[in-house]
Assembly symmetry: D4
Homo-oligomer: 252 residues x 8
């Protein structure tokens, strides 16, 4: 934190230890955000506990372990997504306290200070194959300190299961809908409730599902106005977004 | 019909009026379907009353009127789709008995012999803007002799209206679902009933609806197994298909 | 069935065992479909024998066997699609009576009560490579209780084979056309007969077939009005749809 | 409201005015949501003041005025989006109190009971051409009762304007980013702040912007985890979503 | 032709009128194709009568007339495609002998020396709306000196008309198939005959025809090996290609 | 051949062995092509030597060997494309005389009666990676009896190699251009010569080549009028088409 | 410029006019770029003469004139692209010295201080219809102070014209290639020279040119390594980029 | 070089050793570029040191080693891109002096004569996964003789790292931005500096990144005018282009 450094500088100016033009030169050489962007950091409370989420896809095992080692010395809490068991085991070699959420593909290290929320994020998923992404969203929201409910396998073809569990829909505060071929599920949930609905298309499916494109388009075209969309298979993004808006009232 | 002509030929062979090799040559020059494909025609009972459906889009007014004039001398019943009022008026100049279904964009001439069906085809549509295509389907099915029910404006955002009208869903025999942005509606209806559902995506919408592509993909990806799809805006095709399967038991 | 429970409640109200406002509270807490949606179930006769079709693609072996175990205790008949031999063998470990249709990729367990139909569903396929999807459609329709005819390898390049077998076309009641690169086959069949034609594009092909997209578009654009389309490689959906409309007259 | 009707029925059962089986029959014929879905309505507080948002695109002037007339007798507040001046004038003929937000393309009728929020929704837009969609979002959020700030014309090419106005970013509670070609703006804002960001791609642009598709994809692929996306040009959806999450703490 | 000029140069070298190094410099400054590419021109016999085909789309009336004026002084024969009546009339103001083929959208000026071919190019088209492109192909082939037969309106939905006219198929030497939605027609024709088939997708159609894309893909995926494809609506290209291969035997 | 059978029938009618109506019934049950489509076969001279080209992609080894066994008993010449070494070895187990063109991926069995042509088909390819498809085209044309020249590795980045070999371009009769990323090569060749050019896009490439789509579009948009296109990677189709038009003058 | 303000502040600290913590608060509220990003501005020399390029597409006439009025008071030089004559005339009402480059669709106001370059930017275009975009690039580069040569109408179909003008290719320093259907031209030019080539796809064309997409893909897939690409129809971007790299040596 | 040969020919004409017509024939048979295109080679100084860059993707190990062997005898410097370790080892067997840049996937052989530049090319990359492509660009530019700076892992989600390193941005002469999902980074860099920016989309990412398409479109739509784009994953092309423009002032 550079605040003390600048204060010291000003005091030195005051006491004459440093001249005005020298002080001016020092000020201009400081990193930009000691000044203008200072607020970024104060607004970054939340992210401070989330400083580096490692997206494992496309990274080599070696790159991942290097990043974990570097972060490990600095941070209290580290999280890795899209992590398979091999990645988990490499990380555990560095940090024994690493926890693996296998279905979610998430590794977490250390303990994040949890905020208290009594309100729940509900994760709804259409099919069994959508579960990994649904769990990625659920675990992410939990790590952020949210109470999470799950309502899985309630795709439109088995829509009666959704109706049987309507209490869960009505009792939640924020809803994440995860669906591949059943992209219609997000529209349906959005048509039944007035909660914010975050829709996650998944790449599950075949044929004209085009690796999640069909579900993505369906969700974007939902006529229910409380529905927003994240990228295909982006369970983390949905869980994160749901988590921060679920905590909006708590944060103040 | 060439049947008589061939019979006559065989009789001439019998009576020696014509030699065997001459008869052989005549036989080979006959239109193919007097023989092999004769069955096509006997199976075409239905289409006989539907012999030339004029698809007006992409045709000039002059081309349309010429086709009507030509068909007019041959057929009892003529039908034109995607017809605007100007087309209708040109046709009426030729045939005074032309009827215009304005919302459906259909012109019909002459009376088609109607089959009797007590069972109904239900046309469900999502939004007000889908109505022209829904009407195209409805009028087509009616012209084929089917009883038709309409259930309009029951998109997913207003899904409660669908539930209020569930009797219509359960009492119908075949269902056509017409939806643009609300492509999800076909999945939902297919998940609630065990009737054959014919889904018609419409080009209504904006943004990532991509002129009906989003609805088309949603409908193709429906997990409800009783749902099939026709081309974007093809209300005629859906009404025709619904009509012929609704009459399957009556035809025998 | 909750009918008795509600009747009992009303009787308790009558006899004063329970007060009106308490009864009102109980009524509101009942599952929705004891009332409004009761009819769904009575209309679900057909699906009752088809209660859970397990779509194996995207599911782990462990998930599939868990689902089979759960269903096994409840249902008389279970069916799994897109199942390879390994899946079949895992299922057979649970249920010895499992039958494997290898080309179709279907596993069935138990006996479904068959409806009697004398009319046939004809499955037409274009090429040798389309056979797995064609068989998926054929076996599905047979399991539903339909008589099924097969007419394979009659692609447009070998269109004379189609003409040699025209009797099969004319004698069937419903036709499923399965084709990858030869998407044109659905149009051709639809132009020759007046039967309902369900077209299944397959992902067979290369280059600009774009994993079935070309065949899908061809089929959607068919000008023959009796043609509808299901998703790429969705043999099950086509067989199911063909099966239920083939039985429409029997059901009454 | 059917609550009284059911209470009356139970009382009649109690007093013997109606028999148990007759009561049972009456109960089953009631609309489903008097029971099971009653909760929907109690949860619909918010939407009650937003009961019918008329999406004008694709509707005829005649259809729009009919809808307004019908709603006018029932509701206190009506809103129409994507409305041009001609539509506004037709509506004003029915309701003199109609207000037209011209840039936003929104017509509103009647007064909505406003919730009090001291927190602001910030609407950020990239270019002059994105303004209609940005205004659609802004006006929608205002109508919902939110304080709204605007920060327009801060596209990436003029990114210094964004930095000059960073206070607005940091002081807002929820941010809507509206951008056509400059889809990158949503990523940038999402990278600077920890607020929920709702991104709206617009169809503004040319060439490989493909009517908003490029911006849509950019926004979906944002690596900043607090960014969600709505359909191309869906300013209403973004304003609505931003509005309801901005009011989450107020609602309790 | 520079041949004489170079010969003269060599003779001047021989006679000493010009020095070797001067001759070398002259040689290097000559247009490249006097030497290396001379053969291009001798092979360009055909094109010589086709030196500048003016593609009118995207050109202003002013640009077109300027090109015609410039060519008019140099060539015996000029041809313009995608020309509407207004373009024709502007051209006729410059050259009175301009001929307008209205349906084909072709203007021709001057007389091309025709080659004699007894063999015919057959132009097959699917629907009435495909006629302008079919005529563009037909007129182009005729202008090249080919005998042309037409077989129009034989789309797959009316496939019996194709069979009735099979003699035309069998008697032609090269076939052009023009089809929009009915892209399947090219496959069918290619499956019936062993002639070279040039397929022209047209932008006629609606919905999932995607401005000719569906027909294009269908044609590219034709399994009949004698089928090649040109660009959507490129009647000129197809007629030109058909024309030159129809004349291959005549050229020697 | 049914000709004798019909003649016999007519003679039996003449001699009274069979009645007219019985003869009529027999005639109608005959295969269609004994009559109408007889001509197909007589026109199929060429294809007779090419009766079944086995496209191996998507077929199991078992299916391929079964087809070879069935054809082996009937035909003199068999050809299989997209065949890897394993397929070749399976075929050689059935037919010892099978020949394997490894780069081309073609297996041929038996000797095809070759037509004599002195004119050559030139196969031009852009890059080393395009060679398998180029060879598929070359070997196919050779098997059809054409003299074939090869001009490989003359992509646009090394366009000077094309110019050094211009004699090959000018001396050929028909040209096939095979190119992946270098789709531009077809346009360039088409701009230099007046021969028919058949362009084959290949799926070679990366990034925005999109598995051959870029090359396909480039080739379709070629402004040189003598260029036609086949499907991506369809070397066989191009070689076949080039082969038959190269033999057009010989066939007469 | 805030430098003086900060210096004053430091002096006030020195003299005790302001306390340290008050000074600290003032410092933090200053615009960020007085410090960290000051350098941006000193590096923006070039852009200073190009401060606001008005992209007219998608802006109303009213918006454009307002922007011109605002800029007019501040800047010496203003430029508007994609401007039609109506826009030009509105601008001329504000600034009499506005100049209109009609083909380029560019309006310029005021005089830009020109840099001296003796090297030329060459603008190559394929067809007559590409001229507006080619001129947009040419005029932009000229306004930046570059010498510009034009070589138009040298598409691949007329590739000999390119060869005849090879001197222009070899004598230029930077080349811009503008082409619609003839996307191949960029590859060809890139294959002939070692200059930096900036390729501009245009939306000119029809059919499978898909509004410039085909040309864009062709250009991206060019195997000549010195070719880069800008957006479809982005003549301004290409001219700007060509201009700044052409001046790189002059700038030092 | 053929210059001497032609001079000799002219001298022989002069001395009568060869007749004029014989000389003419010889002249016409010479390679074209001895004359017209001689200049290509003299302009190819640069490429001479870069004569054959082997793009390894899609080539067999055998093909690659053959090309290296052939080039090895002719050139001083050889370079291979997209080369894995196996390829490197095969090349090292031929040339012991081969150097492997593993992350970049580049093999180089021999020493290229380096030009001296004091100005730097800056390679900016968004994420760890983009590093191979970034290194491909960096190593290519270095091999061309440029000073190269790297600034990696500064994606928009971690945009503060970009700001902390702004000196690198301002001190470079040309910038290459490599980004997958973070396509926005190119726009941002282009908005901060006035240097030429070459953007390289990478295929890194998932979901709606569509193998780099999203990043490609974002980059093409950048509103910052100094940004151009190369193909997805084309690190070599970007490094080459950046390298040649960075050396433009040195070349003179």
């Amino acid at each position: 934190m550079e605040r003390e450094k600048i204060k010291k500088l000003l005091e030195d100016v005051k006491t004459g230890k440093i001249g005005v033009s020298d002080a001016l030169r020092v000020l201009k050489s400081l990193p930009y955000d000691d000044f203008g962007f200072a607020k970024i950091d104060t607004h970054r409370d939340l992210r401070k506990g989330f400083p580096e989420v490692i997206f494992c896809k496309g990274k080599t095992l070696e790159q991942i372990t290097k990043i974990v080692e570097r972060l490990s010395s600095r941070n209290e809490f580290i999280m890795a997504t899209k992590a398979d068991r091999e990645i988990y085991e490499s990380i555990r070699n560095i940090r024994e306290d690493a926890i693996y959420y296998e279905t979610a593909g998430i590794v977490s290290i250390g303990q994040r200070e949890r905020k208290k929320t009594t309100k729940t994020v509900l994760i709804v998923s259409a099919g069994t194959s959508d579960m990994p992404i649904a769990e990625e969203a659920a675990v992410t929201a939990e790590i952020l300190g949210n109470a999470v409910e799950r309502l899985y396998d309630v795709g439109v073809a088995g829509v009666h299961r959704l109706f049987y569990n309507k209490e869960k829909l009505f009792n939640s505060n924020v809803i994440v809908v995860v669906a591949g071929m059943e992209g219609a599920l997000a529209s349906l949930v959005g048509g039944l409730v007035d909660k914010p609905v975050i829709a996650v298309p998944t790449s599950v499916g075949y044929g004209a599902s085009f690796e999640g494109l069909a579900a993505l388009l369906t969700m974007l075209n939902s006529c229910a106005p409380g529905v927003v969309v994240v990228n295909i298979d982006n369970g983390f993004g949905a869980g994160y977004f749901a988590g921060i808006i679920n905590q909006m009232e708590v944060n103040e």
